[in-house]
Symmetry: C2
Subunit: 192 residues, 2 copies
DNA sequence: GCTAGCATGTGGACCAGTCTGTATAGCAGG
DNA sequence: CCTGCTATACAGACTGGTCCACATGCTAGC
């Protein structure tokens, strides 16, 4: 080895931030390079398949962050309903703090590339699966019906995902906390 | 007047289809022209503010189609819950028929441009407002609590919106019908 | 009722800039 | 000295947008 690989991480992180705000096609590789401070050579050294591979890496990176946050909340909060309520509040706060620019970190890229790009679709599938699995485990641990749990978990992710779109367009994050609270009530009812 | 304006409509319709599948930035004006059969001059004749104005027109066009569908269902189906269940089935069918390419017709463009582009954001706001208003009216007509109705309507749109993203990535439309059915049960409970 | 003039819309050539991706030279560390 | 990485110059395709000559069909004036 030589010259520590300083740039790979910065490229992925910068790409994730930019894709989240302006979308995949709306973000040029040059912009990723400017923001990350990496030279073009490094980009194609780490990502020989080019931009699409960066899209995949960015989704994996951002997806893991969300999974980690959900897992942490699951440990901290007493019930699955409270996990969801708290996560809704977190999302609403981030949205407001960014002037309604930072929505879901993977949705935009996925909508632009899925199902056309297989690699990106697979990364998105893994991310969504991990998120729903985390909620599903929490529901099962709280005594929910094994048939009902996965469906409720998917509903929660879908509702939050959609609420983030509405909130961004309406520049009002109420819909996010409201949706989280409503589905959380369903969680409560299913684990009582 | 002279030379009947043949091309405007075709430009908007083609743009709506393309934006829905590949996103706004991922669709070039040349592609819109090829698909619509219009010449470049016509595009900038009808849309002097260029591509962004087409994005706005495409959102208005697609938004009105959805509003119309929801209004029609509201007349045909006995309860708001049944409207939602039926609409979920329609969406799932369209998604499957298009090999999971045709999701929500306005989400992708909105996520790419909102809140940066004011015109596009406003068009999206109007579309979402019309959709939720249609469901809200149905809920109120069925005797739902005036405080609860708008919130339930927003939840329904958010859940469907998010479910369409999940379904497209997972190439499985079950989540759409499931989400619609779950929220429809809430509609039923609120109008009983 | 003819025609000149005019607004509306068509068709496409063209431009400057940007895009993704390639090629290759240089550099640091084992 | 060889390998992993950095750094930059460059290429070809394509982008959104401008411009202008031309076709079309209504209307005012005679």
């Amino acid at each position: 080895m030589a010259a520590a690989p300083r740039h790979r991480e910065k490229i992925v992180r910068s790409a994730a931030v930019l894709f989240r705000r302006q979308g995949y096609a709306g973000t040029g590789t040059s912009q990723i390079l400017t923001v990350s401070g990496a030279p073009r050579g490094s980009l194609y050294h780490y990502f020989p398949q080019g931009k699409e591979q960066i899209g995949q890496a960015a989704i994996e990176y951002a997806g893991d962050l969300v999974t980690g946050t959900l897992a942490r909340l699951t440990e901290q909060r007493p019930t699955p309903g409270d996990v969801l309520r708290e996560y809704g509040r977190l999302l609403a706060g981030w949205l407001q703090d960014s002037d309604y620019r930072d929505g879901c970190p993977i949705t935009t890229t996925l909508l632009e590339l899925a199902p056309e790009s297989e690699g990106v679709s697979a990364a998105g599938r893994r991310a969504f699966a991990a998120w729903t699995a985390t909620l599903e485990q929490a529901l099962l641990a709280a005594g929910a019906d094994p048939v009902r749990a996965p469906r409720l978990a998917s509903l929660a992710i879908a509702a939050l995902e959609g609420a983030l779109v509405l909130a961004r367009v309406q520049q009002d994050s109420t819909v996010v906390t409201d949706a989280a609270d409503d589905v959380a009530d369903l969680f409560d009812a299913a684990t009582r």
